[in-house]
């Protein structure tokens, strides 16, 4: 499903001495089936953008469009069409067992028992957990990493047409981060679900995103293919962001060798570049 923001501005608590401007005139189109990343420093308005895109927050001005349908306070998105996971989604776990928590949304959607079961098992498997072994456990007995996965499975179980994720890897250990990103990419490639992910770890976004948007101070400051934005170290540094490690490595190599080393976006690419340099030296 295509998601669009048109000239969206957001002021929290407007009309009070505490009014806070979070977004300023942001326009954005998320194409069906793409993987879009939204990056920016802390407090730049990323979470606000995601909440507005999901239709759970109403902007102060501007339009939000899901497919052909304009979203407003009265016209909320049809239930189950948008999967939304805020930062630390494990905070939303509440049922007695993992199975009943993950099945909450499909049950609310009024699906029959067999379909509910299929969805729970599929979505738990999609985030790399074993439905048989954790299904009957209390979600609060799991580790944070497992809780995170279960919470995401609870969102996936709606089989939404777009999945919006706010820093899904925050507070996870490096191995778990890597794995989660891989699973998300795989899910997108298998099901074609539109994905928007908010984050600020560029290594992670390099592995995830096809396209990338940078916001800073509530404004959209850059948008483009992931490879062109992530290799633009000056742009990233201007918005308190670090380029991916591989890009940094290549610029260090450029400085050391005096040659122009093309920036690499993946580890495979970086290794290849290194091999070439070493071959030249030997």
């Amino acid at each position: 499903m295509r998601l669009e923001l048109e000239n969206v501005s957001m002021v929290y608590q407007s009309g009070t001495p505490f009014s806070a401007r979070a977004l300023e005139d942001v326009s954005l189109t998320v194409e069906p089936g793409e993987r879009l990343a939204v990056a920016g420093p802390v407090g730049s308005g990323k979470s606000t953008l995601l909440a507005i895109l999901a239709g759970v927050e109403t902007p102060t001005s501007g339009r939000v469009i899901h497919g052909t349908r304009e979203i407003s306070r009265r016209q909320t998105p049809p239930p189950g069409s948008i999967g939304l996971a805020f930062q630390s989604p494990e905070n939303c776990l509440f049922e007695k067992t993992v199975y009943s928590d993950v099945s909450f949304a499909p049950r609310r959607q009024g699906l029959d028992g067999q379909e509910v079961r299929r969805r729970v098992e599929n979505s738990l498997a999609a985030v790399g957990t074993d439905p048989a072994s954790i299904g009957q456990r209390s979600p609060f007995s799991l580790s944070i990493g497992e809780q995170r996965r279960v919470a995401l499975a609870g969102v996936l179980a709606m089989e939404p047409r777009a999945l919006l994720l706010d820093e899904p890897t925050a507070y996870l250990d490096p191995a778990a981060r890597r794995e989660l990103i891989m699973q998300l990419v795989e899910l997108n490639e298998q099901t074609g679900v539109t994905m928007v992910m908010v984050g600020h770890d560029m290594d992670e976004l390099a592995r995830f995103a096809g396209r990338l948007v940078i916001i800073d101070g509530g404004r959209k400051v850059a948008e483009g293919r992931a490879e062109s934005i992530l290799t633009d170290s000056a742009l990233l540094a201007g918005h308190s962001l670090d380029p991916p490690g591989t890009v940094e490595l290549c610029s260090l190599l450029s400085a050391a060798t005096g040659d122009q080393v093309a920036p690499a976006l993946s580890e495979e690419q970086a290794i290849e570049t290194l091999m070439q340099i070493m071959e030249g030296k030997c």
Binding site: G15, T16, G83
Partner: protein
């Protein structure tokens, strides 16, 4: 109501004399005001008190829209008070509308009680409008200090209030997020029958409790690791001090209260 539109605390920032008067003076003044409010009979006394309050509101530079926000939650109570008095008394009939009869005494009594309640709420509001919550609890703690001699943990009570206040905005934001996330999963948090709504609360209530306990745990740990061990011997960074502003304010309040007592009781 959308929670994110809710004003967290009622403090309205400003630099008026009312904002700069020591919070202890304001608390005592508000208490005195309330006591006099219940001593005064008749509208003349209330009118003097109302005028005094209006002057203070104007002095503090608090806009009417802000005042209105503070009154909205108690509006229902005011209307109920008025309605009850209106219909439930006997005496001289004023007018009749079907089964409903309005009596003169009821009308007068209703108006009086409603006005008194309104002034009561407003006087409390002025205090919270013009004083940051943390200063308010500091001042309450200081005022309760003599109670410590009676083995009442005054300092700890004040600290508890401060901490509670500190966490209100955090919890409000978190609850807002939880409600939205659970709604996106199809939870029903408004509308529907009572049973539906009661069940709809669980997806919000359980996470809220889990989160509150976690906050409490983390805070306790953080306080202990920084050697917090109760109020004894604690020094205070934000010192409260009376100044001549307090004397002026107290005098004016005393004058208004004396005038209303004279108008409303002893004349």
């Amino acid at each position: 109501m959308q929670i994110s539109n809710m004003v967290v605390g009622q403090f309205y920032p400003g630099t008026s004399i009312l904002h700069r008067v020591d919070p202890r003076t304001k608390i005592i003044a508000a208490c005195a005001f309330v006591i006099v409010l219940f001593m005064v009979n008749g509208f003349e006394g209330l009118a003097v008190m109302g005028a005094g309050l209006a002057a203070v509101i104007a002095l503090a530079g608090i806009p009417l829209s802000w005042l209105w926000r503070g009154l909205k939650p108690v509006l229902f109570l005011l209307v109920i008070t008025f309605a009850f008095q209106l219909f439930l008394s006997g005496g001289e009939e004023l007018w009749r509308l079907g089964p409903v009869t309005v009596y003169r005494a009821g009308l007068v009594q209703g108006a009086f009680l409603t006005a008194r309640l309104l002034l009561l709420v407003l006087s409390g509001s002025i205090l919270t409008f013009s004083t940051p919550p943390v200063l308010l609890t500091d001042a309450l703690g200081r005022l309760m200090e003599p109670l410590a001699k009676l083995k009442i943990p005054a300092y700890e009570l004040a600290l508890m209030m401060t901490i509670a206040l500190r966490f209100i905005p955090t919890l409000v934001m978190e609850v807002d997020r939880i409600i939205k996330a659970q709604k996106a999963r199809g939870a029903v948090t408004s509308g529907g029958g009572l049973l539906v709504r009661a069940r709809g609360i669980m997806p919000v209530l359980v996470p809220l409790f889990v989160m509150s306990f976690r906050h409490a745990d983390e805070l306790a740990l953080a306080m202990e690791s920084r050697c917090w061990r109760g109020g004894r011997g604690r020094t205070i960074r934000r010192k409260l001090a009376f100044s001549n502003k307090d004397a002026v304010f107290a005098t004016v309040v005393l004058a208004v209260l004396a005038a209303s007592l004279w108008m409303g009781r002893f004349r």
